[in-house]
C-alpha cells in the first residue's frame, strides 16, 4: 500500500513540475464545453437538452487527451523497467499511476462541471447529479484508458490507435453517465444509471490494473 501512495506522490510531484501538461487537458474541457452554448445561441430549452451529452463527451475527450502520456515518459526513460523489477507488485504501482492520473485529469473535471453546467441553464439538483455521475464515471475513464495506453505503448502513431481503441470502450460509461443527468432533468429516477456506473467502476477497479500490468509487461519485452 505504501508503494501505491509513493507512486501517487511521485506522479503528482512530476505534474507539479510540469504543470502545462495537466492544464492543457483541463483547458480543453473548459473550451469545448463553452463552445457549444456560444455556437448554438441562448436557447435555454435546447441547451438544457444537449447539456448532459455535450459535457460528458467533452469530459471523455479531455481524458483521452492526457492518456498517451500516462506511461510514455516512464517507458522512455526506463523508470517503467525499474518498476517492473521492483520488489513491490507492479499492479500496485500501476494502480497508483492510474489513481494519480484520475486526481490530475478526472477530479478537476468533477469540480469544474457544475460551473460549466451553468452555461447550459442547468439547475441545482441537476448540477449535483452531473458532478455525481462524473465522480463515478471519470475514474472509469482513467481505468479503461490506462489499458488502452498500455496496449499502444511504444507503437508509432499510438495516439490515434489509442483513440480508436478506447473510445468504443467508453460508450457504456457515456450512456449511463449522460443518461443519469438526462433522467434528472426529465424528473425521472437516477438510481438505475448511477448504480450501473458504480457497478462498472467496481468491476474496472478490480480488473483494469491487472490487465494494464499484463499489457505493460508485453510492451517491455
Amino acid at each position: 500500500m505504501n508503494a501505491l501512495l509513493a507512486t501517487v506522490r511521485r506522479d503528482l510531484l512530476l505534474a507539479l513540475r510540469r504543470k502545462s501538461e495537466v492544464l492543457t487537458s483541463l483547458f480543453f474541457f473548459v473550451i469545448v464545453a463553452s463552445l457549444f452554448p456560444l455556437g448554438i445561441g441562448p436557447e435555454p430549452a435546447l441547451l438544457k437538452k444537449i447539456a448532459p451529452g455535450v459535457l460528458w463527451v467533452a469530459a471523455l475527450l479531455s481524458t483521452l487527451l492526457g492518456l498517451p502520456r500516462l506511461f510514455a515518459a516512464d517507458h522512455l526513460d526506463g523508470t517503467l523497467e525499474q518498476m517492473a523489477l521492483s520488489p513491490s507488485p507492479l499492479a500496485l504501482l500501476i494502480a497508483g499511476k492510474i489513481l494519480a492520473h484520475w486526481l490530475l485529469c478526472g477530479l478537476p473535471l468533477v469540480l469544474l462541471a457544475p460551473l460549466l453546467g451553468l452555461q447550459f441553464a442547468l439547475e441545482g439538483q441537476t448540477l449535483f447529479i452531473l458532478s455525481l455521475s462524473l465522480l463515478l464515471g471519470t475514474p472509469l475513464l482513467s481505468l479503461i484508458g490506462a489499458m488502452g495506453a498500455a496496449l499502444t505503448l511504444g507503437v508509432r502513431g499510438g495516439g490515434v490507435l489509442l483513440a480508436l481503441l478506447v473510445l468504443p470502450l467508453y460508450i457504456p460509461t457515456l450512456i449511463f453517465g449522460a443518461g443519469a443527468v438526462e433522467a434528472q432533468s426529465a424528473g425521472l429516477g437516477v438510481e438505475g444509471h448511477l448504480s450501473l456506473l458504480a457497478a462498472l467502476l467496481a468491476l474496472a477497479v478490480f480488473f483494469a490494473p491487472w490487465a494494464t500490468t499484463a499489457a505493460l509487461r508485453i510492451a517491455l519485452e
Binding site: R10, L14, R17, G78
Partner: protein, 202 residues
C-alpha cells in the same frame, strides 16, 4: 561454495536469428561474471532475460536453488540498464528517495545524501537532473547501488559515460559488494578495475 545463481542452457532469438543458445553459468557468493561479446552479440538480451524482463526461448534460471520466477528474486535483484531511469524534472535527492519508496524501502534523507556525496554529487543534490551532464545523470542512477540493498547486481554497460575517477569508484563499489558476499553480472567493453571474475563470451 554452493552456487546462489544458476543458469542452465539459456537460449534467445530475435525474429529468425538465434542470438545465443546453451548459455550456462553459475555464481556463488562473492563471485562476479563479466559478459563479453561484440556489439549485437546479445549481451543486453542475456541480461534482460536474466532479470526476467523478457522470456527465454529455452533454459532455466535458479536463484538460491529455486526457479527465479517463483523465488522472491526481485527483492534480491538490482538491475541498472542502458536507460538513465531518473526523472529529469526531479532533483537527484528526490529521485533517490522516490525510487526507494516505490521499492517499498524507507530511505532516510541523510542516507540518500551520503550516497550522492560518495558518488561525487555534493552540491548538486537540489538541482533538477535536467541540468546535469550525462555522466552526472549516470552517477545519480549509480547512487541506487548504495541505497537499495540487493544481493545480485546486474549492470548493463554501467561504466559508459563515466570519467576515469567514476570508473575507479564504481569498481570500488562493486568490489565492496563482492566482499560482502554479493554477486554481480556486468557487461563492459573496457577492462574493469576489479579482482578476476568469471567470463562469458557470447
Amino acid at each position: 561454495m554452493p552456487a546462489m545463481l544458476k543458469v542452465s542452457r539459456l537460449a534467445c532469438s530475435r525474429g529468425e536469428r538465434q542470438l545465443f543458445a546453451d548459455v550456462s553459468f553459475s555464481l556463488a557468493a562473492g563471485e562476479w561474471l563479466h559478459v563479453q561479446g561484440e556489439n549485437g552479440a546479445g549481451k543486453t538480451s542475456l541480461l534482460r532475460l536474466l532479470v526476467g524482463l523478457s522470456p527465454a526461448d529455452a533454459g532455466e534460471i535458479y536463484w538460491r536453488g529455486v526457479a527465479a520466477s517463483e523465488a522472491d528474486f526481485h527483492r534480491d535483484l538490482l538491475y541498472l540498464g542502458h536507460h538513465a531511469a531518473v526523472k529529469d524534472d526531479l532533483t537527484p535527492l528526490e529521485n533517490l528517495c522516490l525510487s526507494a519508496a516505490l521499492d517499498g524501502i524507507h530511505l532516510h534523507e541523510e542516507a540518500a545524501l551520503a550516497a550522492l556525496v560518495r558518488l561525487g554529487l555534493r552540491g548538486r543534490e537540489a538541482l533538477p537532473v535536467r541540468v546535469l551532464s550525462a555522466g552526472q545523470k549516470r552517477r545519480v542512477l549509480l547512487a541506487r547501488l548504495l541505497t537499495r540493498p540487493a544481493a545480485l547486481w546486474v549492470l548493463d554497460e554501467a561504466f559508459n559515460a563515466l570519467d576515469s575517477g567514476a570508473v575507479q569508484l564504481l569498481g570500488a563499489l562493486v568490489g565492496e559488494h563482492l566482499a560482502r558476499g554479493g554477486l554481480a553480472v556486468l557487461t563492459s567493453h573496457q577492462p574493469l578495475p576489479l579482482p578476476a571474475g568469471k567470463r562469458l563470451m557470447l
